[in-house]
């Protein structure tokens, strides 16, 4: 079994092991899960390292497994492989899952089921980033929904049931479009194949209309995941109601699947359709940036603020994806995906930290916490700064690359101008949040009992801090890692 299969099956094995542990022994369950999440984390980081030194010189798929026959009569194959755009996301998944598992140690209710579902979720996420067969990709894409549904529905906030089914229905609704598009592609290819690689290499030979239909179908499926405005309405519900660690996974990994799938599948596969849709994609991205930021600004709930900021930040990714002929923009999109994963993941963790203590997330209820819990304040301000794009941190690098790249190639330069306003709005809502929560007079009677962030919680955000700074200060290794793959993708997309 190759390393990519291990990334999928070790969490699955962990799930089975956890299911057989006694229910009462909560610490055994927690540490077993940590163990089984740590293995893929280490593996995926090693993969990053190994890919960087041995494979980054070529755009070809590395660590390929298969294709092995799975269902011969339907030409379904077990086919895995990674390249420069999936390796960083795998590492992100591995790391964030481990972080989330550790951050979930405070779950006391139905611990066993919680961690079993968490490991199943990880297997699905890893699978999406390594699958090279449409059927396999679809299986992983869907399999994630089930644990996610339970994680939100059982351990979530007050409106958890509504949020859980809304998330499930929304994503399944998107998936059916993908399924139709996959079937059309399958039957129009000669010989019939479900291999994503072959479809991407050959480009679509479909008549223009059908190509457009397939492109739009894939777009709907992926845009719901991203989420692109106006498909974003599941996001605030799901993010807000989900327990902390699940919000982290949602924001850090699940949203990236949408943009990853666009880069992997629909963008290089339908260049003609992409050319004609690029303007509208940029427009949707732009609306997302501004709308997300404005709505964030109006939020009273801290978690909702972070949730809507995701809509805004993923809008930058869409803008970059519309400027698909520029390597800088696409690289910026990848940076933004990773950076948003780290920053928003951390912000959700920090929101969870304060919520666990104060049992409220209302921004107006706080004030002056900076004097009471300085370390927490410092960390929170650090990530808020990263999120608003302070130079020296990953958010700045990615947004800068997106602006430079898309300004160069987009015909509508004004769009980039408006997108920059989005960064300004981002600074506005994040700074206002910092000001209202951490500065000003402190109410000792009300919040005197608040305790400082503890060691476990600090440990969960520490790696994210390091990575944010590293990417912000020295992004070159990541660039080297992705460059060949991105150039190859761009030649495919721009043909």
């Amino acid at each position: 079994m190759g390393i990519l299969s291990q990334l999928i099956f070790i969490p699955l094995l962990g799930m089975i092991v956890v299911m057989f542990l006694p229910k009462q022994n909560k610490w055994a369950i927690r540490w077993t899960t940590t163990f089984f999440a740590a293995i893929p984390c280490v593996q995926s980081l090693w993969l990053l390292w190994d890919y960087f030194y041995n494979y980054s010189g070529s755009y070809l798929m590395a660590y390929v497994e298969g294709p092995y026959e799975w269902v011969p009569s339907l030409n379904v194959q077990y086919f895995l492989g990674v390249d420069g755009i999936s390796v960083p996301l795998l590492a992100l998944t591995g790391l964030l899952t481990l972080v989330s598992v550790v951050a979930s140690f405070n779950i006391e209710n139905r611990v066993k089921e919680y961690f079993a579902f968490f490991l199943l979720l990880e297997a699905g996420m890893m699978g999406v980033f390594v699958a090279l067969d449409f059927f396999l990709f679809y299986v992983f894409w869907e399999i994630m929904l089930v644990p996610m549904y339970f994680l939100i529905g059982v351990w979530g906030g007050p409106r958890k049931e509504y949020a859980a089914i809304k998330f499930f229905l929304y994503t399944l609704f998107g998936s059916i479009f993908m399924l139709v598009a996959i079937l059309i592609l399958y039957f129009t290819s000669e010989p019939h194949t479900l291999s994503i690689l072959e479809h991407v290499q050959n480009g679509s030979t479909l008549p223009y209309t059908l190509q457009m239909v397939c492109f739009i179908f894939f777009f709907i499926a992926f845009a719901i995941k991203v989420p692109v405005w106006p498909f974003h309405t599941w996001l605030p519900d799901a993010h807000v109601e989900a327990p902390t660690a699940v919000s982290v996974i949602l924001a850090a990994v699940l949203l990236k699947m949408g943009t990853y799938a666009m880069l992997r599948i629909s963008w290089p596969m339908f260049p003609a359709a992409l050319r004609d849709c690029a303007f509208y994609i940029a427009l949707l991205g732009l609306i997302g940036i501004i709308y997300g930021a404005l709505v964030s600004m109006a939020q009273k709930d801290l978690k909702k603020l972070v949730a809507y900021s995701s809509v805004s930040h993923m809008g930058f990714c869409m803008l970059a994806l519309a400027a698909y002929t520029s390597e800088q923009a696409i690289a910026g999109c990848m940076y933004q995906m990773i950076s948003h994963g780290l920053l928003t993941g951390a912000l959700f963790l920090l929101v969870g930290v304060i919520y666990d203590r104060a049992h409220t997330r209302e921004i107006a209820a706080f004030g002056g916490l900076g004097s009471k819990i300085p370390v927490y304040t410092a960390i929170m301000v650090f990530f808020a700064m990263g999120s608003l794009g302070l130079p020296g941190m990953s958010g700045f690098v990615s947004e800068f690359m997106i602006f430079v790249g898309s300004f160069g190639v987009l015909a509508q330069k004004w769009m980039v101008g408006i997108a920059v306003v989005g960064v300004l709005l981002g600074a506005a809502y994040l700074l206002r949040m910092v000001q209202r929560i951490f500065l000003g007079p402190f109410d000792e009677a009300k919040w005197g009992f608040l305790t400082e962030i503890n060691v476990r919680e600090t440990l969960t955000v520490a790696p994210l801090m390091v990575l944010t700074l590293w990417i912000g200060i020295y992004p070159k290794p990541l660039n080297v890692l992705m460059s060949e793959t991105l150039q190859h993708l761009i030649t495919l997309m721009a043909r």
Binding site: F135, Y138, V146, G153, L183, I184
Partner: protein, 503 residues
């Protein structure tokens, strides 16, 4: 003219004979022990079915009794489904026979087996009359079974309703068959296919109204059996009132029998009349409309149900609609996808009903709200029901998903094969869209089981055979979801054996 005696190849009929004898043995055993047979009679019945399965496996393909009895891939595949459905229905009946039908265990199990014999004859026929007889043999025991709780008003109502509707639909079917015979001069389906096509050419389509009448009557007759709207009204009441294992058997076995009849009469017998050119005799568009109605109605009305048996009844209407989508794909995938779909449906639905039966045995309730908190009191059973419901929704990697994928793949392939079939794309789109609706009501049950906060959730009774059925269902759903290759391979012989060639 020399009269040739047909070949009596009894060996081919051995599975049916074995099962028939086993049914008689079961009934005799129950009477012989003065109705004190207990669970033994049930195990005897299951043993009889297993034996039938073994005999079926060793019988092989062939034909006999003139051209009256075929053991072709279609027959064998569906016989496996019938035997499996009967096996799982009997396996989950032990709770009922222990408490409710104590004086008629033999008849109860025997009738299920006799109905299965009818289904097996049906699957082997390639001729209208033996097909009709097989269909009657299938349904008549089911009338009795539906009314088996004779002290329960709803069960008796179910029986009467099913009897009237069943008789009416059979009459309609027979009426249609008589027209087909009149037009073609034969009851042999393969000859009829040719005769009708020739006649169509010869008369330049002047058969018009008569053939249309025949097609409509047959579609209505089979529509009742398959519960395609607008012929579905009996389904929820009969499903609700019948003993739960009988409901399960109805929803899988009897439905599969209807599907076989549909394949034989419509898809094979009227093969040449599924062409946009053949309007108004084009049965394709009619079936398409029925399928669309089934998917819309089944999936929307199910949302409102508070009784799980009624919900599953409407869901089975919807699933009949999905199967029809595969039926409309007249290519080398179509019939195979239908067969595989039913195979997956066997494990999924029988498994779900096994859970419902087990729950009803303990609590006496079929209300969805009674499942509150089941995940805490019986985690394994709740997990199983979740898996079955997700498979019914079509979430990968479960068998139900592979079935749906296969059916839709077949339909999309056919839609692209010739002009004038563009509506099939829309039908597949509708099928997918309604399967999103389906998620809502299936997930509702999961929600109640897992998110419910009942302080004292109802538990499950411990009933080894029923638990075994749940495990069989679970293994089937997961195994054939992850590794459907061999079954699909087997199923793909079906369309080939009827001349649907790979282009």
């Amino acid at each position: 003219m020399e009269f040739q005696l047909p070949e009596y190849s009894l060996r081919l009929m051995l599975p049916e004979i074995v099962l028939f004898l086993a049914a008689l043995a079961v009934m005799t055993f129950d009477i012989g022990t003065r109705r004190r047979s207990g669970a033994a009679v049930g195990y005897l019945a299951m043993g009889g079915l297993v034996l039938t399965g073994i005999v079926l496996a060793s019988t092989g393909y062939g034909r006999g009794f003139g051209n009256m009895f075929f053991n072709d891939p279609l027959a064998v595949f569906f016989k496996v489904i019938f035997i499996g459905a009967a096996f799982m229905a009997i396996g989950s009946s032990f709770g009922i026979t222990a408490t409710k039908v104590v004086n008629h265990r033999g008849e109860y199990f025997g009738l299920i087996m006799l109905s299965t014999v009818g289904m097996m004859f049906l699957a082997s026929s390639r001729e209208l009359l033996s097909l009709y007889i097989g269909l009657e043999l299938t349904t008549i025991p089911l009338f009795v079974l539906a009314a088996f709780f004779k002290d329960d008003k709803r069960s008796v109502e179910a029986g009467i309703k099913y009897l009237i509707v069943g008789a009416f639909s059979s009459a309609l079917l027979l009426f249609g068959i008589s027209y087909l015979y009149g037009l073609s001069g034969t009851t042999d389906l393969t000859q009829m296919q040719l005769a009708l096509a020739t006649k169509q050419l010869y008369t330049q389509g002047q058969m018009g109204a008569v053939l249309l009448l025949a097609i409509v009557a047959i579609l209505a007759g089979l529509g009742f059996k398959l519960a395609l709207p607008p012929f579905h009204q009996w389904v929820p009441d009969v499903y609700e009132g019948s003993p739960t294992p009988v409901t399960a058997f109805l929803s899988v076995g009897s439905k599969a029998a209807g599907i076989v009849a549909f394949i034989k009469i419509i898809v094979i017998g009227l093969f040449s009349f599924y062409e946009p050119l053949m309007a108004p005799n084009d049965w394709g568009i009619m079936v398409g409309v029925l399928a669309a109605a089934a998917m819309i109605l089944g999936n929307t009305v199910a949302i409102r149900q508070s009784n799980i048996k009624r919900m599953l009844a409407y869901s089975s209407i919807a699933h009949a609609g999905y199967v029809m989508v595969g039926m409309l794909a007249l290519n080398e995938l179509g019939l195979a996808s239908v067969a595989f779909y039913m195979f997956a449906y066997l494990f999924t639905n029988m498994g779900a009903f096994a859970v419902v039966t087990l729950f009803e045995d303990r609590t006496g309730s079929c209300e969805i709200s009674a499942y509150d908190g089941l995940a805490r009191s019986s985690p394994f059973v709740a997990l199983s029901l979740t898996v079955f419901l997700l498979s019914l929704t079509g979430i990968p990697p479960l068998a139900g998903f592979v079935g749906k994928y296969y059916v839709f793949a077949a339909a999309i392939k056919h839609a692209g094969s010739q002009a004038g079939l563009g509506w099939l794309y829309w039908l597949v789109g509708l099928a997918l869209l309604t399967s999103v609706f389906a998620l809502y009501y299936y997930a509702n049950v999961i929600k109640v089981m897992y998110f419910g906060k009942s302080p004292d959730p109802a538990g499950m009774s411990f009933n080894p055979p029923a638990l075994a059925m749940i495990v069989i269902g679970l293994v089937g759903v997961v195994l054939f979801g992850l590794y459907p290759g061999p079954i699909i391979e087997f199923a793909s012989h079906i369309p080939l054996s009827y001349g649907f060639l790979v282009p």
